[in-house]
């Protein structure tokens, strides 16, 4: 037992830091109904503020910490509530995920712009000297962290159970309408809650910075550690969240003891929150839900496939002609860029199938893309012909997607979204480095189809496959499954009364989406002749969602625009600042467009219609207002 004690002590310290972040997350979710994926990024802002104050401007430690906790953090919470959270609290889990994700992406991108992308080591501000208890060395900063977390948990409990504010906040959680009728200013309660939540995020960030360094990505992922803990508390119970965080911290620390001798489980520690999250899902009773009470139905307009019109035919013919002619007018890096763009259209379209019709956000989509490339290579090496291998690789992804979605989506869409993020992380840290995955090189070389391996030939192959797949996606979204998905956005219970399980519909769409992502993954790997874990890490998944929502999720046109913005623009405008500002812009547009299903595409359509209306009015051709045509899809 004694040999485990040092690991338990370390785990207690880290677990306490996670507990602080997790309690902030649960507190704000419970009170405001917004699950904040940017909780980690908010902690990161606090940590960078501390770095600027203390390291760059030599403000004394205590003062710097005080400014961060008492000025920067509450201010951040207040501003973000007014600018983002209060705008999205009634808009369902998909909008919230996208908006808070966009916020996280934007804050992370800004941090990279200002401080650079490298990890900055920050000296500890708590004493690192140790004392010994029962033969175990305990660092003071660990002991202080543990005590701070306990104090925070008790303080929160006392504050919410014995103050007037606490009583009003609890009333708000129960029934906002009634609380407001009693004359309580509910907006102020939410603002204060966000300020407290921000303080918790910042505390957690400050406590972890000396351990992990100042790195926007790592700190943004702080929230990830909090997910598992929050899941133990079923996203609502603060005491259980605290217990969950401590348990995960200790378990993660103990697994590091074994991973030293067994490299196969080296990624287990970081995956633990999601193993917990997944276990909670699997072990939950059949009829239970987690975290969907506030947003059972998405009242936002969802994707709609209109009838195939003459305009659709014309757009399709023009598009296909341009795509087929392109390789005869361009070559080299531009042709590869064009191939990449076309393949990314399929990746975005596979994501569109989820975000558009069923308002389900997948935060691990890049993983399915990676698995497509990986399985294609492995099958092809085993002697399966290229095109058959591509199809089989995509089919192999389907059971994985099913295993991920079936247990989790019945709890709530938010829960599946969190599970997909966890899936991406586990894939990256546990599966990719294994011999079954990308191996120790973290990269594999991917074949192109024999006889069609020239850039031009492969471009045409990719275009043909992508177009066929897009047609299939259009048929699915416009068909029975799409109609059912659309109906689900209005009423789960009515669909149930037809003998259809809503979770099954969502899972089927999720599996189909994974299938198309894997096809695209195989093609993408073949295009670059290689696939590496860097290309398909979990941050890519998050960026994919942000980009698609910016472009528009109501029609397939959004997927074309998204692919162009994501791949085309950096190829065409190869400037450093374009690439550096991309995440920030995607993040901000994702926040702005999260409530509008058709993003930039929709905005453009409105502008075009407005101009057309003005022109008609000026030329006196018509006094009739030009009608906004039904959202229709063009290939």
């Amino acid at each position: 037992m004694n040999e485990y004690l040092p690991f338990i002590v370390v785990g207690l310290g880290a677990g306490s830091a996670y507990a602080i972040a997790a309690m902030g997350l649960v507190l704000t979710y419970k009170t405001t109904g917004v699950f904040n994926l940017a909780q980690g990024a908010m902690g990161m802002v606090g940590a960078f503020a501390y770095y600027s104050l203390h390291i760059v401007h030599n403000v004394p430690t205590v003062l710097a910490v005080a400014i961060c906790l008492l000025v920067v953090a509450p201010l951040q919470g207040y501003l973000l509530d007014k600018l983002v959270f209060s705008q999205i609290r009634h808009l369902g889990s998909a909008v919230q995920i996208v908006a808070t994700l966009g916020l996280g992406t934007a804050l992370g991108g800004l941090a990279v712009l200002i401080y650079g992308g490298d990890t900055i080591m920050v000296p500890a501000f708590l004493p690192t000297s140790t004392f010994t208890v029962a033969g175990v060395n305990i660092a003071w900063f660990e002991a202080i962290t543990v005590l701070f977390a306990i104090a925070a948990a008790i303080g929160l409990r006392v504050f919410y159970s014995s103050t007037r504010f606490g009583l009003r906040a609890r009333a708000l959680v129960d029934n906002e309408e009634l609380t407001r009728l009693e004359g309580v200013r509910t907006a102020r309660i939410r603002s204060v809650t966000w300020m407290i939540g921000s303080c918790f995020a910042t505390s957690s960030g400050l406590l972890l910075v000396p351990l992990v360094g100042l790195d926007s990505t790592i700190l943004s992922l702080l929230v990830v550690q909090a997910f598992g803990a929050a899941a133990v508390g079923r996203l609502t119970s603060l005491p259980l969240t605290y217990v969950g965080a401590i348990a995960i911290g200790i378990a993660a620390s103990i697994t590091t003891k074994f991973s030293a001798t067994n490299p196969a489980i080296s990624g287990l520690a970081v995956s633990l929150p999601f193993i917990v999250l997944f276990l909670v899902a699997v072990l939950s009773p059949r009829s239970s839900t987690i975290g969907s009470s506030r947003s059972a139905n998405e009242r936002v307009n969802v994707a709609r496939v209109g009838p195939w019109t003459r305009r659709s035919t014309i757009s399709a013919v023009v598009l296909v002609s341009v795509l087929v002619l392109l390789p005869f007018v361009t070559s080299g890096v531009y042709l590869v860029g064009a191939s990449g763009t076309v393949i990314f259209v399929l990746i975005f379209a596979s994501l569109y199938m989820l975000v558009g019709p069923i308002r389900q956000v997948s935060l691990g989509h890049a993983t399915f893309v990676a698995l497509g490339a990986l399985f294609l290579t492995q099958l092809n090496r085993a002697g399966v012909p290229y095109f058959l291998a591509l199809l089989l690789a995509a089919l192999m992804v389907v059971p994985i997607a099913a295993a991920l979605s079936f247990p989790t989506v019945r709890l709530s869409r938010l829960y599946l979204a969190l599970a997909t993020l966890g899936f991406g992380l586990i894939a990256q840290y546990v599966f990719y480095p294994s011999s079954l995955g990308f191996g120790s090189d973290l990269a594999i070389s991917v074949p192109r189809p024999p006889g069609l391996s020239g850039d031009r030939e492969f471009y045409l192959v990719a275009v043909a496959i992508v177009l066929v797949m897009l047609l299939v996606i259009r048929l699915i979204v416009g068909g029975r499954l799409g109609r059912l998905s659309h109906a689900l956005a209005d009423s789960d219970v009515a669909v149930q009364s037809f003998g259809v399980n809503p979770a099954t519909v969502r899972s089927i769409m999720f599996c189909l989406s994974a299938f198309f992502a894997a096809i695209a993954g195989g093609l993408l790997g073949s295009l670059y002749r290689s696939a590496s874990t860097v290309q398909f890490g979990y941050p890519e998944s998050l960026v994919l969602v942000a980009v698609l929502v910016s472009a528009g999720t109501a029609t397939l046109t959004g997927s074309w625009l998204a692919a162009f913005m994501f791949i085309g623009i950096p190829v065409v405008f190869d400037y450093h600042w374009v690439i550096a500002w991309q995440p920030v812009l995607f993040g901000i547009t994702a926040i702005i467009n999260s409530r509008d299903p058709n993003g930039i595409v929709g905005m453009t359509k409105h502008q075009v219609l407005w101009v057309a209306r003005q022109v008609r009015r000026l030329t006196g051709k018509s006094k009739e207002p030009l009608k906004d045509p039904q959202l229709e899809m063009s290939l």
Binding site: R483, L484, A487, V493, A494, S497, F498, G499
Partner: protein, 295 residues
Amino acid sequence: MAEARRGPHSLMVRSDEAQGFLLGHLDAEGARRTQSMVEGMLRMVLEAIDVTVRFGGHVALDDASISVVPGAIRGLIGPNGAGKTTLFNVCSGFQAVKSGKVLYDGRDITSMSSIKRARLGVSRTFQRMQLFASLTCLDNVLIAAETSRTRGAGDEQGRRVRKSSDRERAERTLLEVGLGGFADKPARDLTTGQGRLLELARALVRNPSYLLLDEPSSGLDVKETRQFGDLLAEVTERNGFGVLLVEHDMDLVLRVTEHITVLTEGRVLAVGSPRDIRSSQAVRAAYLGDEVGAA
């Protein structure tokens, strides 16, 4: 299957005769048990038998029973808090029971989920309307048609025929309930009355064996309620399914149902024809008061 269960109309007549005979010659409890037995033998009944449901310390249903036979409308009435909605939910599978059982044509479905019951042939509507507001009326009905257990006539002739048949069935059902002109209108533009009709159309197109209606007249005016009642009687007669009608509107219940179950405080107070219920002193005292006396 659907044809087979609907075909022998004579069986239903026999069932009704048997009920009348038995109800006339036995005491209430004996009549109910014998009636269950006869209907069980005939195997065409949706029934909840001696169901008890508790919410914490509160007994919502106490040994309550109800049966719905094909081709007839069963009314379920009672004062507020009597347990009507709970019993309705027990039948539709949205409420688990503490004791008692639910039978579907003799098959025990007590522990079957609402989704599976729906697949079996139980359609329901909702007191608080559950329309697909952003879809057109036709799409609302089409989704129900596409998910129904019995498909259109084109089944064996391939998918294309079947698909058009789903659409045709949906269009026909919309016409049947009088919403033919609203096919392409979004459901959110409908009035409450039209919404109720659309919900009915969605339930009808699924070709159910049993149709459970949860206060379909709430939100309707007198004229709309009367029209709804006429339509309900007509489609029940034509399609031969059994209907369970939970209703507050006494006029509607007394006018369209053949049998009525009266609940009070979770127990069955009386079972009988509208005439019996109208003249029952116990019911009058417990619930109807002067309302019926005036009628």
